[in-house]
Symmetry: C2
Subunit: 460 residues, 2 copies
């Protein structure tokens, strides 16, 4: 409802929305831990050489420089920049610490990342990501791909957000198909195909002809491949085979894709489908690739993505294959909170406002608060001894459900008022408990807002 952006691309939230961000993040964390992923955090900066080692991301990096540094004369090897994802830092961390880690290394990482992109819908310069990855030892297996995709599918289904679908493809399948067609400039071909959703078939055909000199027939075959999608491994394989292109790498990719589809068939989580138009831009993917979209908002950018990278975690001594996905928390909540689909039930964790009778009796109110807190009930004391009406208004504006009035005599039970029902009863601060649903701020879904958004959203 209330994204605050006084600096373009850097979202901030009001407390009632931050409570939602926090609960969603905590839910993701708990799910990741249930799957046996261990937490790490990496520093936010990496040497520029690490950031530039893979992929085509050089335009997006923020470099750091100390305000008082002597000039701008740091060599490239000394320059550091903010990480633009959590995968490149993971690769560096694993290589540095590989003697102290157990493999397969299963880690999750929930941190911000930064890209100097032009801000737009769902595109931020600062954003929170939640990643899981499995870095295998020597033994590479598609079962890790399956596990990552199933975990993300389950996590996404557990979040209080509109339904999503995972679109899976395989880079070997794409590259094998190109090889089978005799295409030489595969990377460039795939980069053009990756723009299909954005620029459309005619423009892709045009670029394939102009930029990689692809014969019309091969280009049409590529488009036909990209048009294949479905949840049945057999049907997808049949559709690919029907195109009449053959190559061992294509078969390998198709087998891996089938493994993922078969494992996810009929599972009680977010649906997983093959979508052979998925390429993923980053250069380091080598097998399974996956993009997750809101089913009802297909034009909103991808909200979770990733894939297999068999050459990223590598130096002169070792090469450790890995696979992982990243959930874009800011991107998801950017839509969900901006459109008011979710909101916090109140603006504070406080369940109780303890009223203040007078400055002299502040100790009494503080004592009541202390005893409530000792039993896990979040509360605050109103700071000034103004009339009760004003203290109640404050609680009401913050959505605090209960106000506690200390005993008038200074001894015995006080009174607690439910601000919604106006019911007021005597209560002992060592015994009273609020209804379970009032104990903490909750995330509330607004069904009417979803109806409205479905009717009017530009992302339909």
């Amino acid at each position: 409802m209330s994204m605050l952006t006084s600096l373009s691309g850097y979202p901030e939230w009001l407390p009632e929305d931050q409570l939602v961000v926090q609960q969603v993040t905590e839910l993701i964390r708990r799910k990741f831990e249930l799957f046996g992923f261990a937490p790490i955090e990496t520093r936010v900066v990496e040497p520029l050489s690490t950031l530039l080692a893979k992929g085509e991301t050089d335009k997006e990096i923020y470099l750091l420089r100390r305000l008082q540094a002597a000039g701008d004369d740091d060599g490239d090897d000394k320059r550091v920049g903010l990480h633009f994802d959590l995968t490149v830092p993971l690769a560096r961390y694993v290589l540095e610490n590989r003697r102290q880690l157990e493999f397969p290394f299963r880690r999750y990482q929930i941190q911000k990342a930064w890209r100097g992109e032009t801000p737009g819908s769902g595109r931020y310069r600062e954003f929170l990501q939640a990643d899981i990855d499995i870095i295998e030892g020597q033994h590479r297996s598609v079962s890790a791909d399956v596990e990552i995709i199933q975990a993300v599918s389950e996590v996404m289904a557990a979040l209080p957000i509109p339904p999503v679908r995972l679109h899976v493809n395989n880079r070997k399948l794409l590259e094998g198909f190109c090889l089978g067609l005799g295409i030489e400039r595969i990377t460039q071909t795939l980069r053009i195909l990756d723009k299909l959703a954005k620029i459309g078939e005619q423009e892709v055909l045009g670029q394939l002809a102009a930029q990689v000199s692809l014969p019309r027939e091969a280009a049409t075959q590529c488009l036909a491949l990209a048009g294949i999608s479905g949840t049945s491994a057999a049907e997808v394989a049949g559709a690919v085979t029907a195109l009449g292109v053959a190559h061992p790498l294509l078969d390998e990719g198709l087998d891996e894709l089938a493994s993922v589809l078969l494992a996810c068939e009929g599972q009680a989580a977010a649906p997983v489908m093959a979508d052979l138009s998925i390429v993923r831009g980053l250069d380091y993917y080598t097998g399974t690739v996956c993009e997750t979209k809101f089913v009802q908002f297909p034009r909103y950018p991808t909200v979770a993505a990733g894939g297999r990278y068999d050459n990223l975690v590598a130096d002169s001594a070792v090469s450790l294959p890995g696979v992982g996905m990243s959930i874009g928390i800011t991107r998801i909540l950017g839509l969900v909170l901006h459109e008011g689909l979710l909101r916090g039930s109140r603006k504070t964790p406080s369940c109780v406002l303890v009223a203040l009778v007078s400055d002299e009796r502040r100790g009494q109110s503080l004592g009541i608060a202390r005893r409530l807190r000792a039993r896990g009930i979040a509360c605050e004391v109103y700071p000034r001894p103004v009339r009760y009406g004003q203290q109640i208004q404050y609680a009401d504006r913050k959505g605090i459900p209960f106000v506690w009035f200390p005993p008038e005599s200074g001894e015995g039970d006080g009174q607690v008022r439910d601000l919604r029902s106006k019911a007021q009863v005597s209560a002992d601060e060592d015994i009273w408990v609020p209804p379970a649903e009032d104990l903490s701020a909750r995330v509330i879904a607004d069904g009417q807002a979803l109806e409205r958004v479905l009717a009017t959203s530009p992302y339909r």
Copy 2:
């Protein structure tokens, strides 16, 4: 035990230590929420003009620049830098959003901050802070100071770390004392006094004479004031009065300090004492100031600090007084984890490793894992069908307490083995529960390590 610093000043941790960082952070968060502080996060960057508006911190700021930006010609008004604390961003956030916030605004904020300082013991370039602040409306009250100090005292006492003590002073007391002595260059005088612990009495006397031309007698009086400490409000006031200096601002500061001491007397949390040598460097403090130290490691830097700032949250339209403190999570855990005082009970959240019989029966192991997870038991499936001994070794190295063997026939109950007792029993994955203390990774305190550190630490 294992701080990883391939880039100086940027600490990273192994998973077993990150679990400690996370649990300590979560404990602080829960305590802050019990006190009715609401969460916010601010973007990590602020305009340079905001960062430089207050205080003497210009040497420490990291500026950002896009790698592909056209030259270095951004004007000062366009330049942004990483925040060096969470108080200056809070002030900016509150001013920007004041129409949507309720006052007093009670917020907590747990985020990293960055300073381009020379790294040293407990001094990092990237560090995690946990702040609470109360931004008052028009009505300023020392009861907010009391509340912040009591909250931090309770939080620190609840953490599984060596005991700490809060050292409290008041800037009005210091400034009033200087005014009473007829000192004109008060800021510079206090800045020199602030170095007392570092450089000693003789050097302070010398600098007070050389740099602010303070007469010997006034300088000696300042040192006498800085030597006063204690937990009794009456005794501290008596000691100050005995110095024979008088000024209304001194009395005001002494009254506020007394309020804090009286409120904290006899509370069951970390002790709070007056320590009139405390100045706090940052220019924005105007009343109560506080520094928290490890009692047994007085030479280790301050682990939590803050105070009152009545002019920081101000623009041409409003000025909102506030008070807050910041807990240095990285600094605390820098000592605690580095010395091995705490460690995680295992290297992963996994409570159970589900063994894999064969590739064909992978679905069976995945099904067992799914059912354990459905009941909140974190687990992972071993990825390859190697001999059980090897699978058990993997669990053992990661500290996973239980290994689950699927039924040999493929049906019926499996067996679960406790790797510590070697006891192995039949178990149904829909019923079996681990002992409560094994469900999640725990933080374990190592008493022997504390003995060793107390005997050898340079911070004694």
